[in-house]
Structure formats: structure tokens, C-alpha cells
């Protein structure tokens, strides 16, 4: 088709979209404010300052050129100091198309290029027309293979506005509440002592109302934050990987190459479990920090069956959604009940020491703790299905992780003294993810089973 002229167009050194000039100006505005204020006294300064800013923006735009050369993306910029950056296509790991508010006004897209091992964005094209941006992304992610017309992306998920709000309502973002409390502490500062007066002035009722208000504000903020981030969420499958589109104020277009997916997790917290809802996240290699966790969301919220079906389709393993998990040995329940007993005994001891005989009431805590232990035990399960290890655990937040054996980096089988006594062990599946704490674990396997799995999975890791 148009592939020849298309490739030709991509190979020439090209400028950014003309809209880059006003966008640069917008970016400089905060710095220009003092100049403009001065301008109210001396208009010449304001006009001069603006002129300099306009010329600088135009020069910056004219000096920037990008082109594809061989199997690399080449960026040239700078007037006095000239910089050239060469990004080999094979090192490119993700290409994000982002549309901040100002970009949407001009109908352009910012292209961010992330590479393997880079912690920050290594290449940035400030503004391109949406069409050429899409084509460039497709080319970059095809690793320098020849350009062929792209097949239409097949939609996999579209999340309705109501579901996004429900995701926020059931999200349980404790972090936001904590941050707000921290902010309150910051604002109070040295007036901290007055807080001790507060009860007498407000009374108990006043305090309770205040606490409820703070909680409500935190809750509303968290719901709004989720809604803004995931508004209009769609996921589709294309040749170059999974395409994600989301965001209310800043529209984001992310691409997750399928071969970069290290693990997939279906997450159900207590509230969502009651509603039969779940979220789906993926671990993508080589990305660290907050942004990684956001781009890793394949489904902010959906029906349980939808979530597991998506896991099956993304990993392309038929029957994965309906695979039966083997429960943990009964002995694992004993470990959890023992833990509940010990914690209750400690609580009661502390309470009796502090309050006297009334402290024995703390023994009531045994009921919820034991229930928690039972729930945590019931959540445990593992399976192996067609090259995928499935691990489920967690009571408050139940996670079912799917890890392709081909993506395992290393394995660790560990046992505490109690586990050794009960002939149990936990197997950690170490993957190229955000950190050790998030590695999927098969908790409380029978020790012999754990041994066998360890040896067998180590054998199964592909040997080049």
C-alpha cells in the first residue's frame, strides 16, 4: 500500500509539529510572569521579553530534527551546543503517546520513548500529529523490521464511567488518607500543642465529626483521582502489543509489548470480592516506580469472569481461566490458627497488665483473628497449566498471579522454623518486576512438593 512512501517519510530528518512553538511558549509562561508584571510599569520590557520567548521557541523548533536511520531513531537538537542522540530500536521498550491538556487544544501528541534499563524517558518528541505519532510508534516497536500496514487494533476491554467510579469507591487507597493526615500534621506545625486543648473545646462529638469529615474528604479525593486517571479506559490488542487509552485531563496512550509481560495478576480486595469484581495488572520488565504500576493496569475493574478471561487471552493459554488450584495442606491452617492464638495471648497479656482483670476482654480478638487466619488459608492455592504457574494468596486483598515459566529469572524456596516443623515451605517466583516484595509466592506448599517444583521449574527455564 502506502508503505513505501510511508517509510520514506519516516526516514527523512523531520521537524516536530508546528504547534510545538505555541506549546513551548505555554511552558515558558510561569517564567514570563515577572516580566509581564514589570510590563505594567514599562511596556517595552514586556514586549521585549515576549519577543525573546517567541524567537527562542521558534529557534528551538527549527533546530529539532528526528529521523529513522538504519535500526535507530536519531534525534538532533540545539543551536549553540548541538546534541545528537541515537536510540537503537532494539533497546526501545515502550513508546507512550501522551496528550496533556495544552496538546489537546492543538490536536497534537507527545511521544515518550523508554528504553531497557533507563529509569527515565530517554527520548522525547514534544509534539507530533496524531497520525504520524501512531505510525512512528508502530515502527519503533517493530524493532526495525520493515514497515507493513498495521492491522486494526482489536478492542479487548472498554470500561464504563460507572465502573470507573465503582473502582474508585472500592479502591481502598489508604495511601491517600495517610498523605492527607501527613499534610494536616504539616499545616498544624508548631501549633501541635493546641491539639491537646482541642478535645475540651470541641468535645468528643466535635472530634468524631472532625475525624469523619477528614475521612470523607480523603475518600472523595481518592475516588476522584481514580476517575480522572482511568476515565474512558480502553484496552485493545494490536500487532505491536496491548494498547491502553485512558485519562480525563491528560489522555494517555500506552503500549505494552506482549513479550515484555513478566507476570499477570488478578486482584480482588474484600469489597470487590463481595461485588464479584476484580482488577487485572501486569508486571512489565525494566520499569520501576509509580508510573510502572499505572501503565501495568489492564483492567481497572470488571466482573471476575471478565478479569480471568482477560488473563487467559493476554497470556494466550486456553483453559487458564478455569484451571483448578490445589489447596495448601491442612497443616498450613494450623500455622495460621497458632499465629492467631499467640497474637491474642499477647494482646490479652498487655491489656491485663494495663487495665487489670477487665483486660481479659481482649480475648474477644481471637474470633476475628482466627477468621482472618481461616480466610488466608482458604485463599492459598497453586497450579501449573501449560507453562504457566498460578499462585493465589491473600485475604484482605486476594491476588491470583500467573507467571509464565519462560519468564522466571530465579527461584527461592524458604522455610521458617515453624514451617520446617510442619513440613511446609514457600516458593518465591523471582521475576523482572518492581522489587523483591512484589514477587509472586507459592505460600505454604508441602515441603516435598516445594522441593520437586523447585528442581522442575529450574530445569524448565529456557536455555537459550
Amino acid at each position: 500500500m502506502a508503505s513505501e512512501s510511508e517509510s520514506h517519510e519516516l526516514l527523512r530528518g523531520q521537524p516536530l509539529h508546528l504547534a510545538t512553538v505555541p506549546l513551548y511558549l505555554v511552558k515558558q509562561l510561569p517564567g514570563l510572569i515577572p516580566v509581564l508584571i514589570t510590563g505594567t510599569f514599562a511596556p517595552a520590557i514586556a514586549v521585549g521579553g515576549l519577543l525573546v520567548a517567541v524567537i527562542a521557541s521558534i529557534v528551538r523548533w527549527t533546530r529539532f530534527r528526528w529521523r529513522l536511520e538504519g535500526a535507530a531513531l536519531v534525534l538532533n537538537e540545539g543551536l549553540v551546543t548541538r546534541r545528537q542522540r541515537v536510540i537503537p530500536l532494539e533497546r526501545i521498550q515502550a513508546v507512550e503517546l501522551v496528550r496533556p491538556l495544552a496538546h489537546r487544544l492543538f490536536g497534537v501528541v507527545e511521544v515518550r520513548i523508554e528504553t531497557v534499563g533507563g529509569s527515565k524517558t530517554e527520548g522525547r518528541l514534544d509534539a507530533l500529529g496524531p497520525e504520524i505519532a501512531q505510525r512512528l510508534r508502530a515502527t519503533l516497536l517493530r524493532r526495525g523490521e520493515e514497515i507493513v500496514p498495521r492491522s486494526e487494533p482489536r478492542p479487548l476491554v472498554r470500561v464504563s464511567a460507572a465502573t470507573i467510579v465503582l473502582a474508585g469507591l472500592t479502591g481502598g487507597r489508604v495511601g491517600v488518607v495517610a498523605a492527607l493526615l501527613g499534610l494536616g500534621d504539616e499545616l498544624l506545625g508548631d501549633r501541635f500543642e493546641q491539639l491537646f486543648d482541642l478535645p475540651s473545646r470541641l468535645g468528643v462529638r466535635g472530634l468524631v465529626i472532625l475525624a469523619l469529615l477528614a475521612g470523607l474528604v480523603a475518600f472523595v479525593v481518592s475516588v476522584a483521582a481514580t476517575a480522572v486517571a482511568y476515565w474512558g479506559f480502553t484496552l485493545s490488542a494490536a500487532d505491536e502489543g496491548l494498547l491502553i487509552r485512558r485519562g480525563l485531563l491528560e489522555q494517555r496512550f500506552d503500549t505494552i509489548p506482549l513479550r515484555r509481560i513478566q507476570a499477570l495478576t488478578v486482584e480482588e480486595n474484600a469489597a470487590r470480592r463481595l461485588l464479584g469484581r476484580a482488577a487485572v495488572k501486569v508486571v512489565v520488565a525494566g520499569r520501576a516506580g509509580e508510573a510502572a504500576q499505572q501503565t501495568g493496569v489492564l483492567l481497572p475493574l470488571g466482573r471476575r469472569s471478565e478479569a480471568f478471561g482477560l488473563a487467559e487471552r493476554v497470556l494466550d493459554v486456553p483453559g487458564l481461566a478455569s484451571v483448578r488450584l490445589a489447596p495448601a495442606p491442612r497443616r498450613a491452617l494450623g500455622r495460621r490458627v497458632a499465629r492467631a492464638l499467640v497474637v491474642t495471648a499477647l494482646l490479652a497479656a498487655v491489656a491485663v497488665a494495663a487495665l487489670g482483670a477487665v483486660g481479659l476482654l481482649a480475648l474477644v480478638a481471637l474470633a476475628p483473628l482466627a477468621a482472618w487466619g481461616l480466610g488466608a488459608y482458604r485463599a492459598l492455592g497453586y497450579a501449573e497449566h501449560d507453562g504457566i504457574v498460578v499462585a493465589r494468596s491473600g485475604f484482605l486483598v486476594q491476588r491470583t498471579s500467573f507467571v509464565p515459566v519462560a519468564r522466571l529469572q530465579s527461584l527461592a524456596l524458604s522455610a521458617t522454623p515453624v514451617q520446617r516443623r510442619l513440613r511446609l515451605a514457600s516458593l518465591t517466583l523471582q521475576i523482572a518486576g518492581p522489587g523483591a516484595r512484589s514477587d509472586p509466592r507459592l505460600r505454604d506448599l508441602d515441603h516435598a512438593t516445594g522441593d520437586r517444583l523447585l528442581s522442575r521449574l529450574a530445569e524448565a527455564i529456557p536455555q537459550g
Binding site: 522466571l408 530465579s410 527461592a412 522455610a415 518492581p434
Partner: protein
Amino acid sequence: MDSVADPGEMPRVALSPLDPRVRTLWWISGGVAAGIATLVALGVDVVFSPLGRPGLLTVLVALGAGAVAAVLPVLRYRTWRYALRPRDLWIQHGAVRVTVSVIPYQRLQFVDTEQGPVGRRLGLAELVVHTAAPGTSGRLPGLDAAEAERLRERLALVQRDVDGV
């Protein structure tokens, strides 16, 4: 502790202890630390003599630190086991929580060897291997320096699977 030594508890793969010379290395470094602690105690004793009798603190610290420096390397030595197999590296470590790690050479990103002044004298090196997983714990103290070097050379020959990273 005894369960660490019990081969029935942990996987069938035959794991061998570290090079015994590593105990010497730990004895020397522990001895140096104990010596420093004793000197500090001596200084404090000369100025304040906090335990009433002059010299008592120095004697107690010297005995305590000396005992720890003498015993700890023996206990530490027992918590390590390893095997360099044709395709993967097995490391067992831990006294309370015992962990067996399996690291396939195929997955190694890079290999570090570290050698302090004492280690160089004794012909020992510490090996640290890294995979793309931040959770991998591939530390092996007290490996024969020549063996560490051999391993590093072998790892350089492994053809890596780029997509698996």
C-alpha cells in the same frame, strides 16, 4: 540450627559447604572488630571507669567481643551451602529462615567478584550474581578465587535470551 545441617530437610541436590578458609577470613575480620571495641572500652575506662573498678569494663568487653568473634564464624559457616551445577547455581543460606535459591546461568545479567586484602592473601573471593529480577539474592562469600574466575568465564559464554529479560 541442626535442621540446617540435616540434608533431608532441603532439596536433593548435593550442596557443599563454603571453602573452609572463609572461617579464617571471618575470624580475622571479627578479631579486628573485637580489638577495636576493646580499645574503645579501654579509652572509656581510663577516663570514666564507669563500672567502679578500673579495667573491669575493658576486660568484660574484650571477653565478650572475643567470644563472639571466635564463635560467630563457625555458626555463620554452617548456614551456607552451595552447588555450581552445569546449568545453574544453587545457594542455601539462613539460620532461622532457611532459603534455597536456584539461579540459572542463562538468566545472569552480570557477575561481580569482590576480594578484600585478607581475601586476596587467602585466595578467596566473594561472588555476587545479578539477574533481571531485583529479588534474586545471589551472594556467595568465600569461594575459591580460581573457581570464581572460572565461573565468570563460563558465564560469559552463555548465550542470553533477550526476550526473557
